[in-house]
């Protein structure tokens, strides 16, 4: 249908539209008009993706000079594929309606592992191996050697692409990963490099977060994206953690040992080259004297090593004299390495800030701050000069050099924690140096700075105002949308007590309590009797789940549950888990139903949907707080308090509630879907917890559904399920939660729609 959004003609590929989609598009349009950033929360299963795509594409078509590109970031490869499919639907609709030929180029980009078509390379199993092998076939000096020595193997796909691929632009159309591979096979071009080249002029790019947020990758892939792009982060409720992870470095004893070997290899290579080809080193030396500007002109394929957020001053300045020659630099690295080794040889935990670390390193091994800052860039230059083909081996020394650069560049926002052993095994020495980033805004700052509109959206972003604070940006729109429903298809219940009136909570003091565990067991038992098909239960951690299941077994509860349904358990092993999931779905298909026991923050809680009969009830046992004793977390909380005035408790609760909401949100994947959401902890009834749930869940939490006992829950649940089991047709929804074009244009509907969005 054709919509008029605030004066913009939008083609929407479906015959019906949800009211909240319309409202969402309105907000989005305003954000784009203002050329600002936005934070938008809309429940999952209400068609966020298609709303986003159809509006932004329409905007691009209407104002081709204002918005040149859409960069759509998602989390996983299946999600990326889903987005491309939606986009294909939209584009088909466009061609059908306008009868004009499609001139849009949209493509997905993923790692080499997913895109490689070279028969040898693509058969490798791990991403790192593929990258390393690919590099050993496509690096510029390898190809130069190939000219003089044709027996040197190169990748024919890359050669072909390099020879002709750049002149002929890829034809307009929608390309997912398989399409790209097919296209590559047909033409004999490398799909990966083709895609990387094509994103520069594509209208829509779909890829993973890391291509934009991880400074090491972003520097290569996304550096040249136009300023007038719209960037969308979908499923962005975890974006702060992604940012932090991309900037943090963990160094163990093993890393240092591997680094040691790397340094030795470097030294040997240098002495060998010095004998055979001293001119090369001299050439590098000359370049470094001149400054890095020249060195910066790296060719596309030499991309493997790059710098985490190169500060500008480095690019403009020459490398300090103390690490200019190759030998001195290797000596420098050796000293740095030995220093780190000495630091790891401790018996108690040390926490210090970057300036303290720098001071100490100067006193111990006379290393100044400036050469440290140039370390990553210097190493990159050296590796390129030495023409070391197999780059995968050098990951350790690269990591160390990144650490050196980061620690000397940022005096704030990072902390160094050295732990001699893991908390769980205090007798086994396993020293780790955590260089942990505490400020997610460091990694995302370039994105906000560069692009005119950045949209952060997800099903669970509550409370909205915390995201601009921790990511340090200024949104022009912040809005939360509710789900308009023809029938209340979600039923959140907070169970606080067992039938014996003992409080149910996963609080640390009482979590091992016999009565609490028994009550949890009884809850699951009762639910297994009344809920048809699948039940998904989430625990707060793997250990807690193991304990509880063990004691359920002893108490005979497990046996009783198994009379009703089969039980599957998520484990830390990915293969086992996907097996369990598959069998769980099979069991649900059979009609008897099953129970999946899993863990909040685990694989199941993020990204796996339990549509319809796969999840008729979700039970959240306890509040999924993070492990608060971890020093990294403590440091981060302290930083948040000092820098952003966010109190520890607020942040912990916020973090716990977003995960809880993520978990229970797995069951509702659309308006025809329905499910029970059971929060089994009395602490959920408190205002501070409840207030942090997304608005679309909060709305259905009445006073009557707080602090229930188990049998009250069973009563309410039975009632709800019986109601929902009635036939539900499209006609019931029409006009209420599903609109045709005429209905949409009616006066009072527009008024209603205006109320859907709640500005934060």
């Amino acid at each position: 249908m054709k919509l008029n959004i605030d004066g913009l003609l939008v083609y929407f590929p479906y015959d019906y539209i949800y009211p909240e989609q319309y409202s969402y598009m309105l907000e989005l349009k305003r954000t784009l008009d203002a050329k600002g950033h936005g934070v938008l929360e809309m429940p999952s299963g209400t068609g966020k993706t298609i709303s986003l795509l159809s509006l932004i594409v329409a905007y691009q078509k209407a104002y081709p000079l204002e918005v040149t590109k859409l960069v759509y970031c998602s989390r996983t490869v299946p999600e990326i594929e889903k987005v491309v499919e939606e986009l294909r639907k939209l584009m088909d609709y466009y061609t059908k309606q306008t009868k004009a030929k499609n001139d849009f180029l949209a493509l997905a980009l993923s790692s080499r592992k997913n895109l490689c078509i070279h028969p040898e390379v693509s058969s490798l199993r791990f991403g790192k191996e593929v990258d390393g092998k690919c590099h050993s076939l496509t690096a510029s000096y390898i190809r130069a050697q190939h000219h003089s020595n044709p027996s040197q193997p190169v990748c024919q796909f890359f050669e072909e692409f390099d020879a002709v691929g750049r002149q002929v632009p890829i034809a307009p159309g929608i390309y997912n990963l398989d399409d790209l591979k097919d296209f590559g096979r047909r033409k004999g071009w490398c799909p990966y490099f083709l895609a990387r080249y094509a994103i520069l002029h594509a209208n829509i790019v779909v890829y993973s977060y890391h291509y934009l947020l991880d400074p090491k990758i972003a520097d290569l892939v996304s550096k040249e994206l136009a300023k007038k792009s719209v960037v969308v982060f979908d499923e962005a409720h975890n974006i702060d953690n992604v940012c932090i992870d991309s900037m943090s470095v963990n160094i163990t004893r093993r890393t240092l040992d591997r680094c040691q070997t790397n340094v030795e290899t470097l030294q040997n290579t240098i002495s060998r080259i010095k004998e055979t080809d001293a001119a090369k080193l001299r050439e590098e030396y000359r370049r470094l004297v001149e400054g890095l500007k020249e060195a910066n002109v790296a060719r596309e394929t030499d991309m493997y090593l790059s710098n985490p957020v190169l500060p500008d001053e480095i690019l403009q300045e020459a490398v300090p004299g103390s690490i200019r020659t190759a030998e001195h630099f290797v000596g420098f690295m050796k000293r740095f390495l030995e220093y780190l080794k000495a630091r790891l040889r401790i018996h108690h935990v040390v926490q210090e800030s970057a300036p303290q670390f720098l001071k100490d390193i100067y006193e111990k091994v006379c290393i100044d701050r400036k050469p440290l800052r140039f370390c990553a860039e210097r190493l990159r230059s050296l590796l390129r000069t030495l023409e070391i083909a197999d780059i995968a081996d050098f990951s350790a020394v690269t990591l160390i050099s990144h650490f050196a650069t980061l620690v000397s560049t940022y005096s704030k926002g990072f902390t160094i924690i050295i732990e001699p052993f893991e908390d769980r095994t205090p007798t086994i020495a396993n020293p780790v140096l955590h260089f942990s980033c505490m400020d997610p805004s460091i990694a995302i700052k370039p994105v906000f700075g560069r692009f005119q509109s950045v949209i952060i959206t997800s099903g669970t972003l509550s409370p909205l105002d915390i995201y601009p604070r921790i990511l340090d940006f200024r949104p022009v729109t912040m809005a939360s949308f509710t789900m308009t429903l023809a029938r209340t298809c979600l039923c959140p219940l907070i169970v606080g007590r067992g039938n014996d009136q003992v409080a149910m909570t996963s609080k640390f003091e009482t979590r091992e309590d016999f009565a609490v565990i028994r009550n949890y067991g009884n809850l699951l038992l009762e639910m297994s009797a009344i809920v048809p098909d699948g039940i998904v239960a989430f625990f707060t951690s793997y250990i807690y789940m193991e304990n509880i299941v063990a004691s359920w077994y002893e108490q005979g509860i497990l046996e009783n549950i198994q009379r009703n349904k089969l039980i599957f358990i998520e484990t830390q092993d990915a293969a086992e888990t996907s097996m369990a999931l598959e069998k769980y779905q099979e069991a649900c298909e059979n009609g008897r139903g099953a129970i999946l026991l899993s863990v909040a923050r685990g694989k199941v809680s993020e990204g796996i949907d339990f549509v319809h009969h796969y999840g008729r009830a979700v039970i959240m046992f306890g509040v999924p707080y993070v492990y608060t004793q971890s020093r990294i977390l403590k440091a981060r909380l302290e930083y948040l308090r000092d820098q952003f005035q966010i109190r520890e408790n607020d942040f912990l609760t916020f973090d716990a509630m977003r995960h809880a909401a993520q978990c229970v949100g797995r069951a509702i994947r659309g308006k025809t879907d329905y499910g029970l959401m059971i929060f089994a902890d009395k602490r959920y009834a408190r205002a501070d917890k409840r207030g942090k749930l997304p608005r679309w869940i909060q709305e259905h939490l009445t006073d009557g559904s707080l602090n229930l006992t188990i049998d009250e829950t069973v009563q309410l649940g039975k009632h709800f399920l019986r109601q929902m089991a009635q036939p539900f047709r499209r006609e019931d929804q029409l006009g209420l939660s599903l609109l045709t074009l005429e209905q949409l244009q009616s006066e009072d509907m527009l008024k209603k729609i205006a109320q859907i969005a709640q500005q934060a």
């Binding site: 200019r324 030995e338 601009p468 200024r474």
Partner: protein, 309 residues
């Protein structure tokens, strides 16, 4: 680390966890007891390279690789002499060349290349640059200064925060105590029934609680973004309205001196006013002074107010 051991007595860290390894200027290791035994007289030769050593120069080995210990030792010595700062050079390139030279010296000394010549070079340098070395001894490098400053800031910040939280807690505690005391006093003197008083007290206590909670929340509300723009403020998209006004026109200042018109500066000489004024010396003129200026001011002074108003 466990496999490290003394090359002479073959004791390892694994067998004797309290083993202390020592290293001397030549970069070879010995354990503490061997040092005690071999260097009873205070000096002797290295077991491995025969370099004459002194017992007092033995240091505890900090790093796994004794060569690093040796290098750091040498480096510290060299840096004491080569202590020029970045500011002592005109260009960055010169400074970088200097740094490289220092690095070369350290490299040579640690790897025993050209030791004699390098030592001579160092001595030469020391003689040539005596005063600079002396002068820079106490000075920290710019980077060091920056670091010190950062550390100081950090310390002060954490100290201040600690104090603030402490004060806050104290204040809350006091308020609670006061409340309790008030209840006791009231129970003692008031004629109301105790149940009412207790209810009142409970009310007050809960009020206090909410107050504290509220205070906590707005300790220092972050209402400003790092860009300096207030939070929660929506950006208005209306363009700034243009104010249409008449342009400002300059009008020269005009005032009445109540006297005869003063001749212009450049006409003073021609009219003979300068005849009896001292001519400006070249020193005076350097600063832009001319005799006309003083004369003009004096004439202005003399003429003004001559006519009665």
């Amino acid at each position: 680390m466990d496999d490290q051991g003394c090359p002479r007595c073959k004791t390892t860290k694994y067998r004797n966890p309290s083993l202390k390894l020592m290293v001397n200027v030549c970069g070879h290791t010995l354990c503490e007891s061997c040092v005690e035994m071999l260097f009873v007289r205070g000096s002797g030769n290295c077991v491995q390279c025969n370099t004459p050593l002194r017992k007092s120069n033995f240091r505890v080995q900090l790093f796994e690789d004794p060569a690093i210990d040796k290098e750091v030792e040498i480096r510290k010595k060299v840096l004491k002499i080569y202590n020029k700062r970045e500011l002592d050079f005109y260009t960055l390139k010169e400074y970088n060349d200097y740094l490289e030279q220092v690095e070369d010296i350290v490299f040579n000394l640690t790897n025993n290349l050209d030791v004699e010549r390098t030592k001579q070079m160092m001595e030469q340098y020391q003689r040539d640059n005596k005063d600079i070395i002396q002068k820079n001894k106490a000075k920290l490098t710019r980077e060091q200064e920056e670091l010190e400053e950062l550390l100081l800031q950090e310390q002060q910040g954490s100290e201040q925060r600690r104090l603030e939280t402490l004060q806050e807690e104290q204040r809350q505690l006091q308020a609670k105590r006061k409340n309790k005391q008030a209840l006791l006093d009231e129970l003692e003197i008031s004629k109301l029934p105790a149940a009412v008083l207790l209810a009142q007290h409970k009310d007050r206590a809960s009020q206090l609680e909410t107050q504290i909670e509220k205070q906590k929340q707005n300790v220092k509300p972050a209402n400003i973004f790092s860009t300096g723009i207030m939070m929660g403020q929506t950006v208005s998209l209306v363009s700034v309205s243009r104010v249409e006004e008449v342009l400002y026109v300059y009008q020269p200042l005009c005032f009445d001196t109540y006297g005869p018109p003063v001749p212009e500066l450049d006409q003073l000489g021609r009219l003979g006013y300068l005849n009896h004024v001292r001519t400006a010396s070249p020193q005076d003129q350097a600063g832009g002074y001319t005799s006309g200026l003083a004369c003009h001011r004096a004439v202005q002074d003399a003429f003004s107010g001559l006519f009665p108003s």
